[in-house]
Symmetry: C2
Subunit: 472 residues, 2 copies
Amino acid sequence: MSALIPRLTDLLGPAHVLTGDATARHAKDWTGKFTSRPLAVVRPGSTAEVAAVLRLAAAAGVAVVPCGGLTGITGAVMNDGALMLSLERMNRIRELRPEARLAVVEAGVVLQSLHDAAEAQGLYFPLWFGARGSAMIGGVLSTNAGGSNVLRYGSTRALCLGLEVVLADGRVLNLMSELHKDNSGYDLKNLFIGAEGTLGVITAAVMKLVPRPRAYATATLAARSLPDALALLNRLQEVSGGAVEAFEYMPDTYMRQLERVRPDLKSPFAIPHAVNILVELGATAPRDAAAQPDGSTPVTTLLEETLAAMMEQGLILDAVVAQNEGQRRKMWERREAAAEATYARKPVIDTDVALPLHLVDAAMTAFHARLPAIDQAAETFTVGHLGDGNLHFSVYPTRDDPALAARVVEMVEDVVAELGGSFSAEHGVGLSKRPSMARRKDAVALDVMRALKAALDPGNLMNPGKVLPDRA
Amino acid sequence: MSALIPRLTDLLGPAHVLTGDATARHAKDWTGKFTSRPLAVVRPGSTAEVAAVLRLAAAAGVAVVPCGGLTGITGAVMNDGALMLSLERMNRIRELRPEARLAVVEAGVVLQSLHDAAEAQGLYFPLWFGARGSAMIGGVLSTNAGGSNVLRYGSTRALCLGLEVVLADGRVLNLMSELHKDNSGYDLKNLFIGAEGTLGVITAAVMKLVPRPRAYATATLAARSLPDALALLNRLQEVSGGAVEAFEYMPDTYMRQLERVRPDLKSPFAIPHAVNILVELGATAPRDAAAQPDGSTPVTTLLEETLAAMMEQGLILDAVVAQNEGQRRKMWERREAAAEATYARKPVIDTDVALPLHLVDAAMTAFHARLPAIDQAAETFTVGHLGDGNLHFSVYPTRDDPALAARVVEMVEDVVAELGGSFSAEHGVGLSKRPSMARRKDAVALDVMRALKAALDPGNLMNPGKVLPDRA
């Protein structure tokens, strides 16, 4: 191992092998929950260099932890004594082919860069979340990231056509296909997507692009209840033919915390409401986006008419429809301040759960019913992608106590398990949810995962100690 | 092994353990290309019985070959001396939940049964191909079947939310989720989809349903060229906002062979055309399906206007738009007679390749340019899902010669490889494409697949000798 650093320096040059204090930026965990002391941070500039780094690390028996934009919140890149392999220099968009609606990108491409490049061609890369200015494609793929547009376009997995992966032993696995049908053997691509770097290092990918909606219809509204909000979602999907791009849930707890942290983004409503929703429809067909004499578009009219009918029935209590792009952006800023609002107060116990849609209401009720028995005066904070059944339910406990935090997490997991949900929706497992994997995941599934890990990384050098729990 | 049959009979009852001549129906290969001599055919009626069968087989060291509707065309269930495990008795639709748009189905449910059950709820299961009256969900999943609606809804993989799998050792892997987001560890589901029973036996699944289109607009047309046909596809996607459900390619070779086999389904055009297309748009939004005073719908008007504009430009040479459901069905029958037409003439060398869309034309040109050097007077027959870049290019050679057939297949594979395509699009690998896997698949990918196979089926008892080629 002692010779590893000089060899890496020979390979990559001294500017791209960081040690000691120079690793601080990569070793830092922005959620503040984890600490990291990597042996070194290396920044290879090509797939061949990544392969060479992995060969050297394998020969030295040193663990490798791939990293990208460092925006994860499960501690998935935190480590002690491993070689952090940053993909940040592999930031080229190799190709962008509008007629085929795809982009060939390296793992270090920042999500926002891909958004910008696609938009310049009238297209859209439909993966949208707050950290898009830092998150990189490799990390997005490795966590199978979700966000606000999953409802219409799916998670990262659904947007990936092809993948390039460097395996633990330095071999390059070329799955860089742009085909829409390919049944030549096992589906290896999906095994690496969401594996958080524990099976290999994703170095490049072929990503789908979609037509950029020609017009949006966006509103913030207060619904009488969660079931009424879901009735609105169903009605909008029906009248629009499935054009709902986002359906985001911001309950009163969200609006209150947001007003503390970002008073400029407070609720648009005069009185507080329990169920606030940000809804957006995207018009992809020209006739749904055509400007009317009054300046509106058919898709906006559709939204307004649906909201008006439900207000008349008392199912919707108040609503504001964005009249221009500025108002639309403001509505989105309110939603995208979620991470800032969540972590502005410490200590915080955050979760990321998925539920069958019709059971989201039952889950919220159960969380609030069971919490006082654990911490009588704890406050809560929830934000969610309601259209996907994905809740980020957070608790601000009255004291900073790991045992208390563990009880809260277990209570949330109990509720989720009882309702057929998942303790991990879109943030991955990393370090923070390994105990949940041990407690909650089907034992046979864990065994199969361990067998796959052993098959692809027999030396256990690829981001060890993440995702899979230790054997009981 | 001698005690295996009595044990199976004890377990399942004599009616569900077939031996000798009683295995004929399952052992038969309808393409006529393969022969099969199974040890026995067993028909377990539940997941628990499947698990028990696998435990007995594992203890006896006997290979197990799962089978469903027996409609495959790659010989994937053909075997010599294995236990065929038919899922045909596991044919219950366990749940169909319209509000959640999903169905929980057992592996032996016939595709058409799921279509019918979904339709009764105003929904659609969007996997559509000729063999739907026999093909079963388990086989559809095991081959990641495609068909005519992949363009809009994706292959089987994209339609599966959850899976139940019995592993080689008889353990049951429960991945029966209905969640739209779930990042709790590796994606095991996609590993079993498309694995053709070589990693385990799929016994049940949670499948997505979609809203049934409120109206269809369907046409058969002749385009001046393949690039002109693709220009039409792009234009239709643009004006309809992505509502093209199917875009099927039937060149002159198809129409000629069809007229021989099924004169009732001959081309609707007075003169032969090189590029015939069946196109269908689905209107999911009410306003696109609303009946107009003249009886038409907006989606049909959209199709007619687009076709008219392109006829004026000379890009489309002729077109017939279906005026009612009867005419629509007739157009589809013409397309769905593909398998019947292909195999009505023997010998036939069939292929199933995928190409980047813009290279389909180049592939067709190359196939026809290179074929005469192999067999001067061979005839060809092509049908394809043009919207997916998926061609079924078949050759009727002048003599029944395996060496000649191998040269034709290799020529096709050469062309496909040169153009970045795949030698296997939607039919899987089975027996017939194992040589292609050996020749064409990335060596690293093959190694990884073998490692996964060894990890999940260390005794090599799950459909052995399929998908993966022997080591060189």
